[in-house]
Symmetry: C2
Subunit: 303 residues, 2 copies
Amino acid sequence: MSLIVTGSIGIDTIHTPTGQAPDVLGGSAIYFAAAASFHGPVRLVGAVGDDFPDELEKPFHHFDIDLAGLEKRQGSKTFRWTGKYLENMNDRETLSVDLNVLAEDLPPVPEAFKNSEYLFLANTHPGGQLALLEQFPAAKLTVADTMDLWIETEPDLLKTLLGKIDGLVLNDSEAHLLTGETNIVKAGEAVLALGPKFVVIKKGEHGAFLLHADGAVALPAYPAKDVIDPTGAGDTFGGGMMGYLAASGGDTSLSSLKKAMAAGTVVASYNIESFSLGKLMEIGKSDLELRHSEFAAMLDVSE
Amino acid sequence: MSLIVTGSIGIDTIHTPTGQAPDVLGGSAIYFAAAASFHGPVRLVGAVGDDFPDELEKPFHHFDIDLAGLEKRQGSKTFRWTGKYLENMNDRETLSVDLNVLAEDLPPVPEAFKNSEYLFLANTHPGGQLALLEQFPAAKLTVADTMDLWIETEPDLLKTLLGKIDGLVLNDSEAHLLTGETNIVKAGEAVLALGPKFVVIKKGEHGAFLLHADGAVALPAYPAKDVIDPTGAGDTFGGGMMGYLAASGGDTSLSSLKKAMAAGTVVASYNIESFSLGKLMEIGKSDLELRHSEFAAMLDVSE
């Protein structure tokens, strides 16, 4: 499979009610890539600064990630985020954010990546997402993420983007902001009216919702007792989902999409069991398959 | 099956963002009984006042409900509740409440009901629930509901009750209040430590969670687009669940309980499609079976 992801790579400092992790690897693209890589190789395009420490590079090499598009930019600093989770482990506050290299130009897409068939446009300015889209003429399946900032500040560009992609992934609050609909089915319908063939609305601990021409699917999250750090849950969900779809040859039938959501749910459930990518570095594909089976068995309510 | 329910019967006036329904039949016991009656006959114990209008009695006779324990008390007034749902159709405000007959003694349990095997103690003072429990020596399966008021004001009596029942049904915010745990799995474990064999934590539009010695089950709600009135969703969920369990002979295995939750989910999804019991009076058991099949198919994520 030729799955490519672009997005942030950063150094996070995370505080939770039970612990903290200073200066650990983070960023949407690396969480996504790690999760997707269980299904096959992932191409990564992103930049860090010259301050990026060697010891944080270990995960890049642990997972099946093609690093030809990873730039260590001299004279720039790495994106940094410091966040604090509240007692409920769902709500969080950003204590500080330094965009640094994220505020500069994206690194160039290597020539060897331009034949990528499966494209995930992680959350960034929709103008940047549109520019990226044009660099992948062979794309068979394009899925984008977005956020409240772009919905509010760049609605027209975002709508242009929505007319050109196959799928959109976003949070429930963002879906409400984008469509004005509080009912999740109506919000989904309003997104599909803007162009995408499917939309996945993420609800954190409450699971995820899919709307597609052939139907609607709601799935719960995997019941997680020992939540250490929710950072990257949405990105690993997206990575697991997209990795599954790429490995399936881009099958976007309702049945394939919901299994892809289940794959995303399962890898995200492992991700939150540790800070940073710690847990994902401990597990293998068989662990994911086993938990996928358990998840499917839990959801078997047929008579 | 000999399933009995006690609880409120009232006259509701409901305001939603899209409409209103003045002076319609409501109350936890009638929603519960109607939903449970699709699985078999239900015995109802409850009281209304002498102001209770004949035209609101129609649902009592439509469903398979034994009314021997329904008292129309002379000189008393019927419980009344007026509520307003906010734009999101989940949060609501109570505009007025008149306990009336609910503040008086419960009607006596008819002798013919005392051999009931399946007992649902709808939300009321835990002292009242304990007193009721003693009147059903043949009970094989006892499930109770409760609320924040009793958790805060009668914690000791509530804990005594929890030591004597098989299952507890409550909302997520109530589970947090009762146990101090924000994580739903940990909250469930803390409830089981107080005595019940299982606990079902209701999450409204986000579904429901079951914890049992043999495992945990999270189910989503059925994706509902046309929500007219959420009143009674939790009570019909409980009724569908308990009706299913009674019809199964009181099988409280994990597998039976999760199918019972699915039955509750499905009947609640119909209930919210109309004000009061309108929709439940239009459908039959085959509608529930069809939607149960659709729900099970939606949740099939097996490889």
